[in-house]
């Protein structure tokens, strides 16, 4: 039975033939049954992942042409491509990255370098970051609406445009900033993890040569943890590109004839496009190939990004060991 040693690893092979008192079953048999049960759950999860990938692939592959990627939707969105949705998603994640990554990286530097482990401020910040990570994404949408659009946006309009509606409505800037808030914890966690892998000795060497703390962080610690910052950025992009709930009412649009040119324009997004096409459009069945192809594009995008991030993180962890 070669698979038995595969499942049980080491350990159980030495002890054998002791009957389990509770069931009277041979202990080895029970071990094998329960251990295979745990193995089966892993296989189940892997199966679902592979099944989702394959089904989306089969459904969308035929439609995934160059024209589909570079054309505007046509004829009431029943034909044509998804070009504006791709551009919209790219622009939104770009602005989001610009906002979230420096912010997250600096917070991570504070947590890893400056904060004492037991200081109350650091503990509160950690808790706040964890809270940001678990708050449902729809709440970020509500926050974006209540804070960015209705508070900051309307006040900006009152100040600069004499009450004319300009910033006080959904647009790509508010959507990106909302999304930046959502992805902030992701950046913080992965940057902090990688900062902590920079060996203590390197830091001490730098300090011993007369460098100040800030010089050490800028010239030694940050270059050493550039992979972590990259990983955080990629994970944030992957998450931000796929999330729909926060942008539902902060800037995503159903259909636009133009690409967004201003920060105060609305935008189309891949995820929102999928949601709208599969639930709200009048002819769901007719556009099924487009939906599958759009899903495939989004899935390939997020999947390849997370794949890169996973590999990078694996390297960081290997280095840390």
């Amino acid at each position: 039975m070669p698979w038995r040693s595969f499942i049980s690893g080491t350990g159980s092979s030495g002890v054998s033939r002791v009957n389990d008192i509770t069931t009277g079953m041979n202990r080895n048999t029970k071990d094998i049954i329960i251990q295979s049960l745990t193995g089966v759950s892993v296989l189940l999860i892997l199966f679902v992942i592979v099944a989702m990938l394959i089904i989306t692939f089969i459904g969308g592959w035929k439609n995934l042409t160059w024209e589909f990627l570079t054309e505007f939707p046509k004829e009431g969105m029943t034909k044509g491509g998804i070009f504006p949705a791709i551009v919209g998603t790219a622009l939104m994640t770009l602005i989001m990255t610009v906002a979230a990554v420096p912010f997250g990286a600096i917070t991570a530097i504070y947590l890893a370098e400056y904060a004492a482990e037991k200081s109350i401020l650091a503990k509160t910040i950690r808790f706040a970051v964890k809270t940001l990570a678990v708050v449902p994404s729809i709440i970020f949408g509500l926050f974006g609406l209540g804070f960015f659009i209705k508070f900051i946006g309307l006040h900006m309009d009152n100040m600069f445009y004499k009450g004319e509606l300009h910033w006080g409505q959904p647009n790509i800037l508010w959507a990106s900033l909302t999304m930046a808030l959502l992805t902030l914890p992701i950046v913080i966690v992965s940057v902090e993890e990688s900062i902590r892998t920079v060996p203590k000795e390197v830091r001490e060497a730098s300090l011993a040569l007369g460098a100040t703390k800030w010089q050490t962080i800028r010239r030694v610690v940050l270059p050493g943890s550039i992979t972590g910052i990259l990983t955080g950025t990629i994970l944030a992009i992957s998450r931000g590109a796929g999330e729909v709930a926060p942008i539902l009412f902060t800037g995503a649009a159903y259909y636009l004839a133009d690409l967004p040119r201003n920060l105060s324009d609305q935008f189309m997004s891949l995820g929102y496009h999928i949601y709208i096409m599969s639930t709200q459009s009048t002819n769901v069945d007719e556009t099924l190939p487009i939906q599958f192809a759009t899903t495939l594009v989004l899935l390939l995008l997020t999947f390849s990004l997370s794949m890169v991030a996973v590999i990078l993180r694996y390297r960081i962890r290997k280095k840390a060991r």
Binding site: S8, G9, G11, S12, V15, R27, Q35, T38, G39, S41, V42, L44, I45, L46, I49, M52, F103, I106, T107, Y110, I125, A128, T131, V135, P136, S137, I138, I139, F140, G141, L142, F143, L145, G146, F147, K150, L184, A208, G210, T212, K213, W214, G242, V244, A245, L248, F249, G271, Y272, I274, Y275, S278, Q291, T295, L298, L299, T302, L305, S306, V310
Partner: protein, 388 residues
Amino acid sequence: MAFVKKNNKRNKADTPAQTTEFASSILKKQFRFDDWIAERVIKTVAFMSITFVALIFIFVFRETLPIFKDSSQITESFSARPQGNEESLKPEVYNPGNSESETELRPETYGVEISDLKPNEEKEHPLSAATGHENSRALSTLLSKDWQPVSDRPRYGILPLFFGTLKVTFISILFAAPIAILAAIYTALFAPRNIREFIKPAVELLAGFPSVVIGFFALMVMASFFQDLFGYSSRLNGFVGGIAMSLAAIPVIYTLTEDALTAVPRTFIEASLGLGASLRQTAFLVVLPTATPGIFAAVLLGIGRVFGETMIALMATGNAALTTINPFDSVRTLSATIGAEMAEVVFGDTHYSVLFLIGSLLFIFTFALNALAEFYFRNRLIRRFQGK
């Protein structure tokens, strides 16, 4: 050389004593400026994440305030009416018949029966007066069993939404928790090293699936599949939604459980194996009980993830606010309600405020779950590891 010594102390490192005065004076200058500024800036930015959480709370709650404000005004007017303070009720000053309608309104405030009163009231009141009453009415219907925000007599009963959310959460955790925990046990304890290093990233990839993709998958593939399998009538229902959401919860529960299991001190495992227990016995009788608080925390966070999940709920649960036990009936969750209706409401009216109220409830709930997982269970886990 006094400042060189000072420098030493601050850096906690040995600057060579022979550093020339020239060099150290340069260092000192840079040290004072760069370092001070950098530390201030970094600290301020880090502090901002606390501010963000506070801002989220304040601004989500701020938009719900109109409901409470207007209704409290009216309740006050009930108690204070004998003294005759019509001035406090601004909109109603213009209406001579208002004291009449207020008496009629009284039962509404306590949410008993509404049906016959409103047509009168709508005739009597000018439009401008409607908001305050509508808000009080909204508050009174909040605990009713109907969610009918868009109708002549809107009713904002959030109980069916709450029930629907709980039902979907229950179904999805019922599937997600056992699978994720068993998979984590396999990964942490039974799997050979090379397989473990393949499984962990693979499950993390599942976490990278956008929820709209999972929702789409549930809508297009799983719904038909389960309908063929069980033969129920409504294609989209709580069961399909629950299964789809378990896909979102599994990575959360799995990762945190795996962390808790691998954090169990190696000595515990070695002691158990050394006493002659099998690996399975060690896993289920030693490691699992030790890590229980961590696993509880993992499941709690999984519940939080499902509770607030919007896109899957919107796409796969059918979105009809039914309060039946049958898992194959369609449900409407709190978050899906916000997602579906927020785009269509008029900014600032009652429906808008009620949606924000639902948002505040969601926020408070997930915040409490996170706090519980973080402080209570984490502390217990650490104490167990220390053998107390």
